[in-house]
Structure formats: structure tokens, C-alpha cells
């Protein structure tokens, strides 16, 4: 739907612009009991940090398995379309928003006296802890936040490569765009011990790589962010191109669904572990 695509493009814009809005210094939080989230990524942090009965509404994307890392946990929660009027009807004591796409709504809610916390969008893996802590502080669950961060960092350490072996990888998406240098996905590739080949294709943060380049200079690991039939869109034609099938038969490839790394939440660790395992297999084969 329109709002979902809007929010996703906001996320892509976040990756493109590289902006990291400062978190307003909020007053020391009590424990808000009617929390509304207007952002897919904030939804997922909120769900992990507070009891369900304190969540008044999340976005309808939170339960969508195509974009949410934890759709099953979001099922059954009330949803909001994100319009200010919709939010006011719920009468929340805390509103979580993302940094992009909803600034008019955020301004309006603040003018009407609602407490709004804008959750930062991490630009790299280092920003994940900041995002968790900002939500944890806002909802008064600092200890649970720290536990979440500690678990994430423990598993992150487990993914870190233990040799100098650095195979190349490319994250190839619907429409042929790849995650280039400076993107969140790029830092995920680096943390899992890969060198992002997108830089060699002379692409910047986002950009479309011609299939010809992919064929002329194939990566050691082709990472596919979606399946061709996952979305009904003309843009998925590139994933159906015989060249992609051929690259998959000839070299290593994995599917790394978007939902796992779209948001800079600790759930990205599952994507990292899959990348780490793929790197291990490549290393074993190289020996």
C-alpha cells in the first residue's frame, strides 16, 4: 500500500542521505503505558522491549513477513495507519517515530502536546546499540535494552572473521540495485568478513549494477535480497533474467531476505550469521 512503500522509501532515503538526526533530550521517562509506533523499525524494537499490553498500536507493516523480521510477534497487536488523527484517537502517552517521512505528523503531534521520540536510523552496525538504547530509555526499560544490546554484541563477536580470508560479495535486489559503500548493508557485509564488490562496479551507496558487470566480474558470493516472485512488480524482471540463474548455478549464492536487514535492529544478527556461515563455506572450499 501507499504508506508501506512510502515508509520503505524513507528507509532507503535514510541509507542514501546518511543523515542521523539527533535525539531530543527527553525528560527522565516514567513508564509509558500506551505506546504507539509509527515506524517499522521502531515497531520491532518496541515489541522486543515492552510487555504487549503497553503497546497501543504499531504500523501494519510490523506483521508483514515481507518486511518485518518478527511478523509473528506483531500479529494481534492493534495497528495504525500513522495519520495524526488516527494517533490522537488512540491517545498514547508516547509516540515513537522514524527519522524520515513522517516529520509533518511528528510536528503536529508535538504541537498538540504528545510526547514523541524519534528513533535514530543506524547507518552502520555501531548504530544498532544506539537505536535500542533510545527506545529502551524512552519506554523506561533501560535494563532490558542493555540485555538486548549485550546479546547482540555477543552474537556479533561470534560472526567476526577469524582469518584474513575476505571473499567478495554483492547484495543484488529487485530492480538491479545493490547496496554500496556507506550503506548499512555494506557494514553488515564487512562485519561478516566480506569485501563489497559494489565499490568495484563504481557504484556509490545505492545504484543499479548492469547484469553485464555482474557477469564480467562475478562476486564470490551473490546475495539475493528478494525472490523474483516475492513481489508483483515489473522491477523483479532482473531477478528472473537467465544470467542470475546461471550465476547461481556456477557460483555461491544465498538468499538474504530484506526483512532481516532492512532495519538496523538487533534482528540483523540473523542476516550476519547467515553471511558468516556462507563465508565459512567459501573458506573451506578455498583451502
Amino acid at each position: 500500500m501507499a504508506r508501506r512503500s512510502f515508509a520503505l522509501h524513507g528507509l532507503m532515503a535514510a541509507a542514501l542521505l546518511g543523515a542521523a538526526p539527533a535525539l531530543a533530550s527527553d525528560p527522565p521517562p516514567a513508564k509509558p503505558l500506551r505506546i504507539v509506533s509509527l515506524d517499522l523499525c521502531a515497531d520491532q524494537l518496541l515489541i522486543e522491549l515492552v510487555e504487549r499490553n503497553r503497546i497501543a498500536a504499531v504500523t501494519f507493516m510490523a506483521a508483514d513477513p515481507a518486511v518485518s523480521a518478527i511478523p509473528q510477534k506483531a500479529r494481534g497487536l492493534a495497528v495504525t495507519r500513522g495519520a495524526a488523527e488516527d494517533v490522537l484517537r488512540i491517545d498514547p502517552d508516547l509516540v515513537l517515530a522514524g527519522p524520515f517521512g513522517v516529520s509533518a505528523t511528528v510536528d503536529l503531534l508535538r504541537r498538540l502536546g504528545k510526547r514523541v521520540v524519534v528513533v535514530p536510523q543506524p547507518q552502520d552496525l555501531g548504530g544498532v546499540a544506539d537505536a535500542v538504547r533510545s527506545v529502551a530509555r524512552a519506554v523506561g526499560e533501560a535494563a532490558r535494552g542493555e540485555a538486548l544490546v549485550a546479546d547482540f554484541e555477543r552474537r556479533l563477536a561470534g560472526v567476526a572473521p577469524r582469518s584474513a580470508f575476505r571473499p567478495t560479495a554483492v547484495i543484488y535486489q529487485v530492480g538491479g540495485s545493490v547496496s554500496g559503500p556507506g550503506s548499512f548493508a555494506n557494514s553488515a557485509l564487512a562485519a561478516a568478513g566480506f569485501r563489497n564488490l559494489a565499490a568495484d562496479y563504481r557504484l556509490s551507496r545505492g545504484g543499479q549494477v548492469p547484469l553485464e558487470s555482474l557477469l564480467a566480474q562475478p562476486p564470490d558470493l551473490l546475495v539475493l535480497a528478494s525472490e523474483a516472485n516475492e513481489y508483483r512488480t515489473a522491477l523483479a524482471d532482473n531477478l528472473r533474467h537467465p544470467v542470475i540463474g546461471l550465476l547461481r548455478r556456477r557460483g555461491a549464492s544465498i538468499e538474504l531476505p530484506w526483512r532481516l536487514w532492512l532495519c538496523g535492529t538487533p534482528h540483523v544478527i540473523e542476516a550476519l550469521e547467515r553471511l558468516g556461515a556462507a563465508r565459512g563455506r567459501l573458506e573451506a572450499r578455498a583451502r
Binding site: 501507499a2 515481507a66 557477469l215 515489473a234 546461471l246
Partner: protein, 331 residues
């Protein structure tokens, strides 16, 4: 000595021969250009694949779609006796894109690949009929353009609605895909599903050559020369819908080729619509192939969309045509 075909003078043979030779050169150039380097053969299996799976479909679609657009433009201008007629300006391309969008988003094209060009064909035919009904048989150039604008606006709005309603996070990007066509990363599969329909449309449009020549004398004179006006109309509508509908379904809207090419070739074709048809078929193929080569040379690391380039060239040309038409129509 070849037997002289009636109406085919040496000058015409030279024109068509020169255009055909230029198309062959442009086709080979298109095969030679790409991010992996210049040339027609590359070492190894990857080289053969680049050639067969990536550059060949691109060059074939460039030639076919350019030809289909150039020919449709010439046929529409000849049949409507209107210098501003062109598939994208009269709403046929917009209708085709709408049909293709519906075929994809209703899931028809994933069930049956042929549903995609058929959707484009159906949308193009409906748009064409709507424009003819709106503008009427004797509406002037301005009426036709206004009718085309209206039909295009409706098609664009419905495409937008379909994309908004689909569970699809790429709606905004896909809008650009349809509005500004591209030949990049098309596959032979798409050639196979679109080419037969496009070729059928091209063949149908070429049959109206004699009728268009006769129509320059007016409808009554054409009828007295034995031209079946209803059949001509059907051939123009069906041919354009087949050619433009199937083309647009696999690449998105590529505008203005059908406007520019017939105008550039008309003086060379001796202002005879019948000869202008095959000339515009070849000229359209030439223009699109050259434009596609140019954008890959100018901006090798950006996937510049060919629809952007043809619009950048075509829109100023359109302005010039409007100014000229206005001065001709001025009392």
C-alpha cells in the same frame, strides 16, 4: 536486372537501402558496447553469455521497438493526416503501460508469460479507440492532442492507483520504470514473448501504404480509387496496438521516436506516406539503436534510461512542431 516494381523508383530503393545499411551498422555497434568493454567477442564462457544473454536481446529489442515506434508514428500521421500524431502523445503508449501493469499486478503474467504483451496490446487498442472516438474522424491536430492528453492522464492515474494498491514496496520506482522506458537487462525471454506480436503489428501497418498515399487526396478520392476506409482504419488501430502494446509491455514508455523519425524522413521520402512507412520503420530502428549506444557511451556507469534520452530530444522537437503547426493554422 531486377524487374521494376510499380511505384518503386531507384531513388526510393537507395533511400531504403541506405537506411537498412545504417541499421545493420547500428545493430553491430549496439552489440559491441557495454560495461564489460568494447567489442564483439570476449574470451571464455562469460564473454559468450554477455553477448548472447545481455547484448543480443538489448540490440534486438532496440531495433524492433524503434522500428515499431517509428512505423506507428508514420502510420498515425498518415492516417490521421496530422503532423503531431505519435503513439506516446495520443495515449497509446500510456494505455499499453496500463495494460501491462494490470497484467503484472493481477498476477496474470506470472501464470502466463504471454499475458504481459497481450495486456499491453489490449490497453493500447482501448486507448487508441478512445482517442479516435474523442477526437472524431475530422478533428484537427489540436483536438487529437487534447484527446491524447486526456487518455494519457487517465492511464497514468490508473497505473498510479494500481501501484498504490498493490502490496509492493517499489511502487514509486516502478512508476518511473513505466513512464521512462529502458532497454537495460532485458532477456531473450522478453524478446520471444514480445517479438511475434510486434512483427505482426509491423506487417499489418505496412499493408496500409497504398491507402495512405490515396488518402492524401482526401477520403472521397481514396474511396473512388478503391480504398476500403474501414479496413484501413482497422489495420492502423490493430497494427499500432500490436506493435506499441507489445513494445511498451517489455520496456516501458519510450516517447517521441514516432514523432521525430517520420518528420525527419518525410522530405527524403518525397512526402509520400506510403514510402514513409518502410522508411520510418528503418529510421526508428536506427534512432533507438543509436540513442541506446550513445547513452551507454556517455554514461557507462549510470543506467541512464533511454526514455529519458528520447524525451530530452523529442520534447523540444515537439515544441518546434507545435509552433510550426500554429503558424500554419493561423488565419
Amino acid at each position: 536486372m531486377m524487374p521494376r516494381l510499380p511505384g518503386v523508383e531507384a531513388r526510393n530503393v537507395r533511400l531504403l537501402g541506405a537506411l537498412a545499411a545504417a541499421v545493420v551498422v547500428a545493430f553491430l555497434l549496439s552489440l559491441s558496447v557495454g560495461p564489460a568493454g568494447f567489442g564483439l567477442s570476449f574470451p571464455g564462457e562469460a564473454g559468450a553469455l554477455i553477448f548472447r544473454e545481455i547484448r543480443l536481446p538489448r540490440a534486438v529489442l532496440g531495433a524492433l521497438i524503434g522500428g515499431a515506434l517509428g512505423l506507428s508514428g508514420a502510420a498515425l500521421q498518415g492516417y490521421l493526416r496530422n503532423p503531431l500524431a505519435e503513439p506516446s502523445l495520443v495515449g497509446v503508449s500510456g494505455g499499453a503501460a496500463l495494460g501491462a501493469v494490470l497484467a503484472i499486478h493481477l498476477g496474470l503474467s506470472s501464470a502466463l508469460a504471454l499475458a504481459l504483451p497481450l495486456g499491453g496490446l489490449l490497453g493500447a487498442a482501448l486507448a487508441m479507440l478512445a482517442v479516435l472516438a474523442l477526437a472524431g474522424a475530422h478533428g484537427g491536430p489540436v483536438t487529437l492532442i487534447l484527446a491524447g492528453l486526456a487518455v494519457s492522464a487517465i492511464a497514468t492515474a490508473l497505473i498510479s492507483l494500481a501501484l498504490n494498491l498493490s502490496q509492493n514496496p517499489f511502487a514509486a520506482v516502478e512508476m518511473v520504470f513505466w513512464m521512462m522506458g529502458s532497454l537495460a537487462d532485458r532477456s531473450l525471454t522478453q524478446v520471444w514473448i514480445a517479438a511475434p506480436l510486434m512483427l505482426a503489428g509491423i506487417g499489418l501497418l505496412l499493408t496500409v501504404a497504398r491507402a495512405l498515399d490515396a488518402l492524401t487526396l482526401g477520403e472521397d478520392a481514396a474511396t473512388s480509387l478503391g480504398i476500403d476506409l474501414a479496413r484501413t482504419r482497422l489495420a492502423v488501430v490493430a497494427g499500432t496496438a500490436l506493435a506499441v502494446g507489445a513494445a511498451t509491455a517489455v520496456t516501458g514508455i519510450i516517447g517521441f521516436v514516432g514523432l521525430i523519425v517520420p518528420h525527419l524522413l518525410r522530405p527524403l521520402a518525397g512526402h509520400r506516406p506510403g514510402l514513409l512507412l518502410p522508411a520510418s520503420l528503418l529510421g526508428g530502428a536506427l534512432m533507438l539503436l543509436v540513442a541506446d549506444v550513445a547513452l551507454r557511451l556517455l554514461a557507462p556507469w549510470v543506467e541512464l534510461r533511454i526514455g529519458v534520452l528520447t524525451a530530452l530530444i523529442g520534447a523540444p522537437f515537439f515544441v518546434w512542431l507545435v509552433l510550426r503547426t500554429r503558424s500554419e493554422l493561423a488565419p
